[in-house]
């Protein structure tokens, strides 16, 4: 079912232009404010229906300095890359308006219509679901998404093909489908109907009407961005704190076994990581001084730095804060990073940002779903995600803090703030408990490793990595 089209009337062009510019400035002025938002317009449609013309006309009516246009030829969706990855760096920041065409939908249609490897209906629909969930996450993070399909009947399309110039025709042939083929046209229309019920459909036959309808739709999007949801929903079900978080018990490694075992495991982990055909992402969370740095050092010991990336995640930069929370991770993780290690991660949203009140209850409560979808998307595209929580007791942390303070070249690791954070110990444990409960999925489980004894912890970290890699490669 198509969206019910709102009654449409041609406006005076100067009036339309004036209103668009006003609305652009209003949007821009939300930057840095509580009601900040951005607008992302996805445009797709039949070739020669005038998507390009409509965007060019829009450029005439708006202030072009505040209109982003991203136009690319379709990419084939494939196994190693989530559909959103080529696009995320163009997600508009607060106050920005971005028109994007092609989009993940044109990629999907092109992929579905490949003559050699067409995808199944079920797979097509699964992609649609994934795309909608992603768009919903954008909306929740104040990027309003509006989807516009510019349509053309078979007859009008053929008439237009008759009229265009040779160099234009060559270009369309080279980069599009065969629009002289009625069966292909019909297939595109059938595919489109599988996802277009939340799209605005514009008929591209009458050029003036098309351009106005397109511009008016954008005007509406600029004016009527949905208000941000303000409050968290309902009562929060706090998970019980697992005993092994509160007092991490640990069998002690036999001192004489430690070195040879560590050596053996270090080599085995290096080989396993190197030989795994998938990307591997290992992330560490845990209280300060739990030993994240030391654990990472052992993982990479037998690897060459050209084989891995280590990201140390700190507070977001200003330009990152003006985008959806996960944006800095979407854009950071590259599909050619075979081995990627994160010292802290996107879980900051439901740990430090929750505990310190940097994210609202609505935001951190929503984040579990966002994170699960994000991880699922990576896992489905050939990435193993290994999540490790290093558990330390409050006493052991105090001892390590003191040791750091007494060692001049380690003093930088410890600040007043680290001591203050200890007052929130219980709240951090609560946050961690909720995190395990909600994000330890079958696809990406959490490993909780006690670290009061550092040697044992290092062994256990390496074992956990091996175990997950082997379990999944034999699965």
């Amino acid at each position: 079912m198509d969206l019910e089209q709102s009654p449409f009337q041609l406006m005076d062009e100067d009036q339309l232009s004036l209103q668009l510019i006003d609305a652009q400035y209003n949007l821009k002025n939300t930057q840095g404010r509580k009601n900040a938002k951005s607008v992302l317009i996805l445009v797709n449609g039949i070739e020669l229906a005038g998507k390009g013309e409509a965007v060019k006309q829009l450029r005439e009516w708006v202030d072009p300095r505040y209109l982003g246009v991203k136009a690319d030829r379709p990419l084939m969706l494939h196994n190693k890359q989530p559909f959103w990855q080529p696009y995320v760096r163009f997600i508009p920041a607060e106050g920005q308006l971005m028109v994007m065409f092609g989009t993940w939908y044109s990629d999907l249609i092109s992929t579905a219509m490949q003559p050699t490897q067409p995808i199944s209906e079920a797979k097509f629909d699964a992609y649609i679901d994934e795309m909608r969930a992603f768009e919903q996450d954008l909306k929740n993070n104040h990027v309003d998404v509006v989807k516009i399909w510019i349509d053309l009947s078979w007859q009008v399309l053929q008439a237009r093909l008759d009229q265009i110039e040779p160099s234009e025709l060559r270009w369309h042939k080279l980069h599009g489908l065969d629009w002289r083929n009625k069966k292909q046209y019909d297939t595109v229309q059938e595919l489109r109907q599988r996802f277009s019920d939340d799209w605005l459909i514009i008929d591209g036959t009458d050029e003036k009407q098309r351009d106005q309808q397109f511009a008016q739709a954008i005007l509406n999007a600029l004016k009527n961005c949905p208000a941000h949801p303000k409050r968290a929903l309902g009562r929060w079900q706090q998970a019980k704190i697992p005993e092994r978080l509160k007092s991490p018990e640990q069998r002690l490694a036999e001192a004489e076994d430690y070195k040879p075992e560590l050596k053996k495991l270090t080599s085995r982990v290096a080989s396993a990581l190197r030989d795994d055909p998938r990307n591997v992402l290992i992330l560490f969370e845990g209280m300060d001084a739990a030993g994240k740095g030391g654990a990472i050092k052992r993982i990479v010991k037998k690897l060459d730095p050209r084989e891995y990336e280590i990201y140390t995640i700190a507070a977001p930069e200003k330009y990152e804060l003006s985008r959806p929370y996960l944006w800095r991770f979407w854009t950071k993780l590259q599909t050619d990073d075979d081995i990627c290690i994160l010292d802290r991660s996107w879980y900051g949203r439901v740990l430090v940002e929750r505990v310190e009140g940097l994210a609202s209850a609505l935001e951190w409560q929503r984040a579990y779903g966002e994170i699960n979808r994000f991880e699922q998307s990576l896992v489905e595209h050939q990435t193993v995600i290994i999540k490790i929580w290093l558990a330390i007791s409050k006493e052991e942390q105090a001892a390590r803090f003191k040791a750091r303070e007494e060692t001049p070249h380690k003093r930088f690791k410890i600040t007043e703030e680290d001591w203050r954070n200890r007052e929130q110990w219980e709240n951090y444990l609560k946050a961690a408990a909720d995190m395990f409960e909600r994000t330890s999925t079958e696809l990406a489980p959490w490993h909780i490793i006690a670290t009061d004894d550092k040697n044992t912890a290092r062994i256990e970290v390496l074992k956990a990595i091996l175990k997950q890699l082997q379990a999944e490669s034999s699965a």
Copy 2:
């Protein structure tokens, strides 16, 4: 000739660590200050000499949150991409320390050693000159560049190859040269000697010594960044303002010829742009209201937005200001942008920034050379650069400003500041004159087009584009 090695002594490790951390913090604290700088370490060397080990050890000694590491396998240098393009997004911002390996030098060596298409000695040396000029531009823009080669004798290399584990050996074989081949080893050493006289050479035989020497070199780089040059050199030779800038004369187009000629030229330009196998970059500069927007509109009229990108260049963002001036253009222009149109450009440095005092005399005077090298680098890699100055008389500008003020939906184009800028009219003309004199090169000439008559100007812009495309394709 190798750099004379400064006398080297092992330091107490804790002391070394402490000094490194101190130096990191000092560097970080320069952010946003007048003496701001960043440090880029390029590391190359013989396989298994321990580049990776040295970097891992460095990570132990410093505060890893403030150490960037970028490690990649070599890329082949090729015709369509300047050597710096894959690396520029990793150029450190003010206050940052970045260790990069491989670098453009490993790309060059790998390219030179391709069995199928080796490059000539002359070409190799030309690359070296280009790389050094690029590094000098980085240094002038406060990115200190330090180059370190970690070396290994043939005998020690063979002994190490005997000892490493199978999975490691496979990895090195897969991604490197054949290090069992003495002739190849010798060739690498010969090539290296063609560029290494400004490198620090570290012998990788003794691991402890190697790691310390590496870390100490970085400590020195952090501590002893060369002071920024403070003043412009000598007296400035102002170019004479060309008469056609002061009073742009113009033959008027015959009204009846205009429309058909515009239509014909628009189509011819579209075909020429579309069919050109090279990338084409068209940039516009000129006083406000000279008609940049209108000219761009005609260029793209018969093109599909998927065929081109338009960049409207405004003032740099804060994160761009903390990098070399050209950085935002290095990272913006993608080699797959076939057709790229810039509404204002890097010439802002020698126009508005010069006139308004936003760049120091030293900075804008240096910029001509930086820009010429940048453009040359693009031109040599399959990009045509078409530079257009739209010349308007002061009277015509005033008339257009007034017309804009009287049209509600054009009022956004005109501010108090635009009127104020007119007081600097003569200084803008002087800046433009110097710009033509110093950057109108054979590879990338300027076209000066009078625009008091808009119709004629639009025709002339299209003709200039056609002329340059044809001249160069027939050359």
